[in-house]
């Protein structure tokens, strides 16, 4: 066989081999009793943005694309989902205490305002997830409004 054929076969063999390396893919759970949108009244258009632009990495309701099952891309996808859920998991929203919710709401606003979220690599593969200026404003405003329900400026109970 020619050199290139040998190398090609080896690479192909490696590619097949890595598909069988066992690793833990983040689980998918569609029904979550502590989910933000399930428990609270979140305005329809905001909920829609959250689902489309955030929920794949920041909830248990992940929908894996076909390439999410193919190594080595699957490793990257799984890592992103794991990290995303670690920082913020909307499916477990009600488990957070109020102070942590306040922190998260601040972070959500900051991350969408500075363009860090959703991740650009994600938007590349999911163009519908891109946040327009209006979407970003909507999310930021929602974090303020939602936070306002949790706290009162009246501190007479001090």
């Amino acid at each position: 066989m020619s050199k290139s054929k040998i190398v090609g076969s080896a690479l192909f063999g490696l590619f097949i081999f890595i598909q069988f390396i066992p690793f833990q893919k983040p689980i998918v759970k569609m029904d979550n009793e502590d989910d933000l949108i399930t428990i609270n009244t979140v305005e329809q258009s905001v909920a829609e943005i959250l689902r489309v632009s955030c929920y794949n990495c920041h909830s248990n309701e992940t929908v894996y694309p076909w390439y999410g099952h193919v190594a080595p891309v699957s490793w990257l996808v799984s890592s992103d989902i794991r990290q995303g859920r670690k920082h913020l998991n909307f499916s477990e929203w009600e488990l957070f205490n109020k102070l942590d919710k306040a922190k998260l709401l601040n972070e959500i606003a900051d991350e969408v305002n500075n363009g860090e979220m959703p991740m650009s690599i994600y938007v590349l593969m999911h163009p519908k997830a891109k946040l327009s200026k209006e979407d970003t404003k909507k999310i930021a405003n929602w974090t303020e409004q939602f936070g306002g329900h949790l706290f009162s400026a009246n501190t007479e109970n001090k």
Binding site: L99, F151, A153, E156
Partner: protein, 133 residues
């Protein structure tokens, strides 16, 4: 009018008299959703001035620090945002993330003592909790 000369001073006196009373709603901070009247106790402010303010104020040069937290703007924040910032302060101090180790290398005198850490943590935590509905 015969008594006109007395009229203006009397009205002025009455106005001053009425204004000296606290009007209803003055003590109620719930007029808007911003944390008006947010005040930091002196002993806490002292620690903040020593170990935090240099980077976390509006005139500082450190953009990252400024975008994360401004101590001189806390009283302009909406309540929910303020609570989140207070919780951040609590956690960053608790985890020894702030002041940053690199900064302390060159400014060891601003390192927080255990007592100062406890003071900041307890103040941030209890103040944040005081706003919970």
């Amino acid at each position: 009018m015969k008594n006109f000369k007395l009229f203006i001073p009397l009205v002025t006196l009455l106005a001053v008299f009425m204004l000296s009373f606290e009007m209803p709603g003055d003590g109620n901070k719930n007029v808007s959703s911003s944390a008006q009247g947010f005040v930091v106790p002196d002993n806490v402010q002292k620690v903040i001035d020593q170990s935090c303010f240099a980077c976390h104020n509006m005139d500082a040069k450190n953009d990252k620090a400024k975008s994360a937290l401004l101590f001189d703007a806390l009283d302009t924040l909406k309540v929910a945002k303020l609570v989140g910032k207070l919780a951040d302060i609590r956690d960053e101090v608790k985890d020894d993330k702030m002041p940053p180790a690199k900064f302390l290398q060159f400014n060891p005198e601003v390192k927080l003592s255990v007592a100062q850490k406890d003071l900041l943590i307890n103040w941030a935590d209890s103040t944040a909790k005081s706003y919970i509905k």
